[in-house]
């Protein structure tokens, strides 16, 4: 892809050649999707959630389809940060795209240690995931309790000099309050939303489908809810937003920009259409050209009267 200034955008200190990124956990570390398209077309890749030590993950079943939604309970299965540094960074560096390391922990200490390790490595940004609903300890607690969130962001900020993105949970009364805390504690950007807390029950057995009962819901079903969260956060804070949640078309991506996202991430919808990022990028190219307006001007335009 040649340089297209209309598509340029920044999330905090991270400059992206275009606003199309992929959501953590839906894209592995890119190897699988690299079979379908050149990862260099992407503005950034947010990799599968990393933890300090390898994680086994949750027992199956881990997936359940719902009307236009997906419940998952992966439980952060991953081979740990050492493996990520050794195997995945070099792989991703072969492509012209930014690397966002999605970090997860059970304790503040773990978050701090993991982020200080990654801060020394060749990644472009650190995405502090305080919103994983699929682990027993830690995880979403940091994203739903204001004091915990503050402590987590503060601890990580104190060791991270790279771009720090905090990924918020949508499962709160006021996501604006959570975003303000992130801003106060010096986060460079906010990504939202992570999955919504949901569940399913098998009517024949009468028992919850998932071992941990709850699971995280993603996909087009949640798009209107996620969009509202982005809109609310844009109104509350100055830090830029990496918006996601159910994006499955170019129009969806534009909606997220208009609501206030500086960049967007595609997730669940790639499972059925692996070429979706390519299609969205193509759409944004023609959309920005038709509107004669760059992504940075479209960001948040719904708050300023729209196109006119």
């Amino acid at each position: 892809m040649g340089v297209n200034t209309l598509l340029r955008t920044t999330i905090g200190t991270l400059e992206l050649k275009n606003p199309v990124t992929v959501a953590s956990g839906t894209f592995g570390c890119g190897r699988e999707f690299a079979q379908f398209f050149d990862l260099s077309i992407l503005g950034a890749v947010s990799v599968k959630g990393i933890t300090l030590e390898p994680r086994k993950g949750n027992p199956p079943p881990r997936l359940h389809e719902t009307p236009m939604g997906l419940l998952n309970s992966i439980g952060l299965q991953n081979p740990g940060v050492e493996h990520f540094i050794r195997e995945e960074i070099p792989f991703l560096r072969r492509y012209d795209t930014k690397i966002i390391a999605n970090i997860n922990g059970n304790t503040i200490e773990e978050y701090r240690e993991l982020s200080s390790i990654l801060n020394r490595e060749d990644v472009d940004a650190i995405e502090l995931n305080v919103s994983c609903p699929n682990v027993k300890e830690g995880g979403m607690v940091f994203g739903t309790d204001k004091e915990m969130l503050r402590r987590a962001v503060r601890a990580v900020r104190s060791v991270v000099t790279k771009c720090l993105i905090v990924k918020l949970s949508p499962n709160v009364t006021s996501i604006a309050d959570m975003a303000r805390i992130c801003q106060e504690e010096g986060a460079d950007a906010i990504s939202l939303v992570n999955t919504f807390s949901g569940m399913a029950i098998d009517v024949q057995s009468g028992r919850p489908v998932f071992h941990l009962v709850g699971a995280g819901m993603s996909g087009p079903a949640i798009k209107p809810l996620a969009l509202k969260k982005v809109y609310d956060v844009y109104q509350a804070v100055e830090v830029p937003i990496l918006g996601m949640g159910g994006i499955s078309s170019g129009d969806d991506a534009v909606e997220f920009l208009l609501a206030g996202s500086s960049a967007i991430a595609v997730g669940t919808a790639m499972f059925s259409n692996p070429l979706l990022p390519v299609e969205i990028l193509r759409y944004l190219k023609s959309f920005t050209r038709a509107k004669k307006m760059g992504v940075e001007h479209i960001t948040g335009l719904a708050h300023r009267g729209g196109f006119s």
Binding site: G57, L63, E65, I74, S272, P274
Partner: protein
């Protein structure tokens, strides 16, 4: 691996529960027995693709053997020649057919699908094998198999399960290939391990990406430090009975 549009060439009922679909084989999509495709129709009300074994292939066609169980399998059955499907494949790792011993293929219900291509491969290799196919009631799909080397078990006609047939013929020096419902696979695995016979089992698990990216299709597998979860879609769907850490 690719994701392309492919035309439906024919849809044909095989009794009440089963049917087969013949698709135009996308160029360069070559399947080994046990591999699968993941399909979607454009007007679909489903979010996710659906995985189906490639039951057999020719130069220009691939055959899917399908059991009607839910939304997509109901809709597919109603499709017409000329309709298009998005097909992703080839997916997964198929059966390892490098062995030399006599092969016992055991399948339950629609689980016989990947065994069809496997039996054709063994025929081509000239390797000795026997197919044991079990059905609850209807057994139309068995007609796709060569009549020689075939034994069929119907639960509604005979007492017991298809694994009873396996018991009769299981002996040292054979290799077992199985696909079917979980309880059947578990029984096959125990029988083989007891008899000291190697087995290859083709598993099913709910899938989202189908290509190994989401880690959603986990199956517990033994390793030196205990158990780890592998991915049915990309590490499998075929696993050796001995490596599985079931129960």
């Amino acid at each position: 691996m690719q994701c392309v549009t492919s035309k439906i060439l024919s849809v044909c009922d095989l009794g009440e529960e089963y049917y087969r679909i013949i698709l135009e084989r996308p160029e360069n999509m070559v399947f080994s027995p046990g591999q699968f495709v993941s399909v979607m129709d454009q007007n679909s009300p489903d979010l996710l693709r659906r995985p189906f074994s490639v039951a057999s292939q020719t130069q220009r066609e691939i055959l899917l053997l399908i059991k009607e169980v839910g939304k997509m399998t109901k809709r597919l059955r109603k499709s017409s020649p000329g309709d298009c499907l998005s097909v992703m494949g080839p997916l997964g790792k198929g059966f390892d057919t490098s062995g030399q011993n006599k092969a016992l293929l055991i399948g339950g219900g629609v689980g016989i699908a990947p065994l069809l291509g496997l039996s054709q491969e063994l025929d081509a290799q000239g390797r000795d094998y026997l197919c044991l196919l079990g059905f609850r009631d209807e057994c139309e799909p068995a007609k796709l198999f060569k009549k020689t080397n075939l034994r069929i078990h119907r639960e509604t006609k005979e007492p017991g399960f298809v694994t009873d047939l396996l018991k009769e013929v299981l002996q040292e020096g054979v290799e077992v290939f199985a696909c079917g419902p979980l309880p059947m696979l578990k029984a096959v695995r125990s029988m083989c391990m007891e008899a000291g016979v190697p087995s290859q089992l083709s598993l099913e698990e709910k899938m989202a990406c189908g290509i190994g990216a989401c880690i959603g299709c986990a199956v517990p597998v033994k390793n030196n430090s205990g158990t780890v979860y592998k991915k049915v879609c990309s590490d499998g769907p075929v696993f050796r009975g001995e490596e599985l850490a079931w129960e």
